[in-house]
């Protein structure tokens, strides 16, 4: 089943010297429960594409469909995790941050608390439910953000380089955790990154975008069994193939 359909999408924005084309003729599908990574150099429009799927932007031409319905704005069928730790609400505890989406849906307080506690536990944060974001490390804050995006049970999880600002060790840990959580929740994931190794570690499929304007240059299926070993020959081969598509090493 196709969960996300991106159909002949162009996106233009107003630049200093007339309209700039950020994306041209981008088309691909993401299957239900598929983990898809969007890879490309900075400026290739991968974040723009994610924002189109999230409904923060509207395509100039073409359309984005989620579960068969055309996207016209934000919706509770999608959860979004950003790169910036500042995405959490500083005035709410971890628990209350995770409850936010449920609160917006009018879920009763006790049920909200139970659900939030469950997702905090899933992310290994049950002991920090009452902590405020500034009392948590960067990795923990991103885990809260993931719990928050999962808590109201969206079908699709959109992630914009969520681990890019973390140190390498924490990032490795977070990737392992994310794969586990994804295996348990079976969400459809659209994950933007510029880090090829990360994409190969996480994804079922990697879409490579080239810049100016952003177009799809490769669609690579990664069939390595999980958990993946980033030092294995097979892993490095896939990585090399994708780097080849990116061009210029």
């Amino acid at each position: 089943m196709r969960q996300i359909e991106i159909v002949k999408v162009d996106y233009e924005y107003a630049g200093g010297a007339g309209p700039v084309t950020a994306l041209r003729g981008v088309s691909f599908d993401v299957g239900a429960s598929e983990f898809l990574c969007l890879v490309g150099r900075s400026g290739c429009g991968k974040t723009t594409l994610l924002n189109l799927v999230a409904g923060f932007l509207s395509p100039t031409r073409g359309e984005v469909r989620i579960g068969g319905t055309i996207v016209t704005g934000q919706g509770l069928d999608r959860g979004v995790v950003f790169q910036d730790f500042a995405q959490l609400f500083p005035w709410r505890t971890a628990q209350r941050n995770v409850e936010f989406g449920l609160e917006m849906r009018g879920v009763a307080a006790t049920e909200r608390a139970e659900t939030a506690a469950r997702f905090l536990r899933l992310m290994g944060l049950e002991r920090f439910a009452r902590a405020y974001p500034h009392e948590l490390s960067g990795g923990m804050q991103q885990r809260v953000a993931i719990a928050r995006a999962l808590a109201y049970n969206p079908a699709v999880l959109l992630m914009d380089e969520p681990f890019a600002a973390l140190d390498a060790l924490t990032r490795d840990e977070m990737q392992r955790l994310l794969v586990e959580v994804w295996a348990q929740t079976r969400k459809t994931v659209l994950y933007v990154t510029h880090n090829v190794a990360e994409a190969v570690y996480l994804a079922d499929r990697v879409i490579v975008l080239s810049p100016h304007p952003g177009t799809v240059v490769a669609d690579v299926r990664v069939t390595l069994p999980r958990p993946r070993d980033p030092l294995s020959v097979a892993f490095v081969d896939v990585q090399r193939a994708i780097v080849g598509h990116l061009g210029g090493g």
């Binding site: 999608r78 995405q87 959490l88 609400f89 005035w91 936010f100 917006m104 974001p133």
Partner: protein
């Protein structure tokens, strides 16, 4: 950095002690007539007298009630106005020039006009506090709304928050640090305004009125005593109300580090 409590207290004691000694030396030097330079013990005795007959509490009560009323009104008008300015461009373009011109005018410069308009009494003092407190509140709230992180709004919207919910759950708490800073500034300006206003516009009660009234009878001990009360009371409100408010919100949320010693 925060000094250990005992050291802070010790430092303050030494500072006030030295100031009292210096004053005492000056008062007894005879450079000015003793009648207008009362020694410290006379000032303390005057305050004790005012506490004893209860008048001090009435004066303090009037002054605090006037500043509370003026600040309350300023908050009711200023905070929503600042919010609307931050969210609606046309309002911002209309209000900002007015605020920019009115804000630098010292509130006390309005006293004669306010007396003509409102007569002597509470209304003039309250209007003065309102004037002094309004602009810090408007400007800080406006800045706070403009400074709300776009990412918070985006995150809230992606979780199904509509305009009203974004305003209530994101813009309001997000702007709160600035609103609190605005309240502090408003109090500092309002405190000056209320005491100054009472000197001229009040009848019978208020800390500013006491000072002005005492001049008629050369009661310099009462004047200095009232000044001390004004200083200590201002400090107490600042520490007990605003610093506490800040500790419970902004500092707890990590939106400001180590401020408000």
């Amino acid at each position: 950095m925060r000094l250990p409590r005992t050291r802070t207290v010790l430092g303050a004691t030494v500072a006030f002690g030295s100031a009292a000694l210096a004053w005492e030396a000056f008062a007894r030097s005879g450079s000015l007539p003793p009648a207008i330079t009362p020694p410290v013990e006379a000032v303390v005795a005057a305050v004790a007298r005012m506490i004893g007959d209860g008048t001090l509490f009435v004066h303090v009560g009037y002054t605090l009630a006037r500043i509370a009323a003026g600040m309350g009104l300023a908050a009711v008008v200023g905070v929503p106005l600042g919010m609307v300015m931050g969210r609606a461009r046309p309002v911002e373009r209309f209000v900002l020039p007015l605020v920019s011109v009115l804000s630098p005018i010292p509130s006390l410069a309005w006293v004669p006009l306010f007396i003509l308009w409102f007569g002597l009494g509470n209304t003039a003092s309250i209007a003065l506090v309102f004037y002094a407190a309004l602009f810090p509140l408007v400007l800080n709230t406006w800045t706070g709304v403009c400074a709300v992180n776009r990412l918070w709004i985006r995150a809230a919207e992606s979780m199904g928050a509509n305009r009203g919910a974004v305003f209530r759950h994101v813009v309001l708490p997000g702007a709160l640090p600035f609103v609190i800073a605005g309240l502090r500034q408003a109090f500092a300006r309002g405190w000056i305004a209320v005491v100054g206003g009472e000197m001229i516009a009040a009848t019978r009660w208020g800390l500013g009125w006491v000072i002005f009234d005492s001049k008629e009878f050369l009661n310099t001990d009462v004047m200095l005593g009232s000044l001390a009360v004004i200083g200590l009371l201002g400090l107490a409100v600042e520490r007990l109300v605003f610093a506490a408010l800040e500790r419970r919100t902004v500092e707890r949320w990590g939106l400001m580090r180590g401020a408000a010693a």
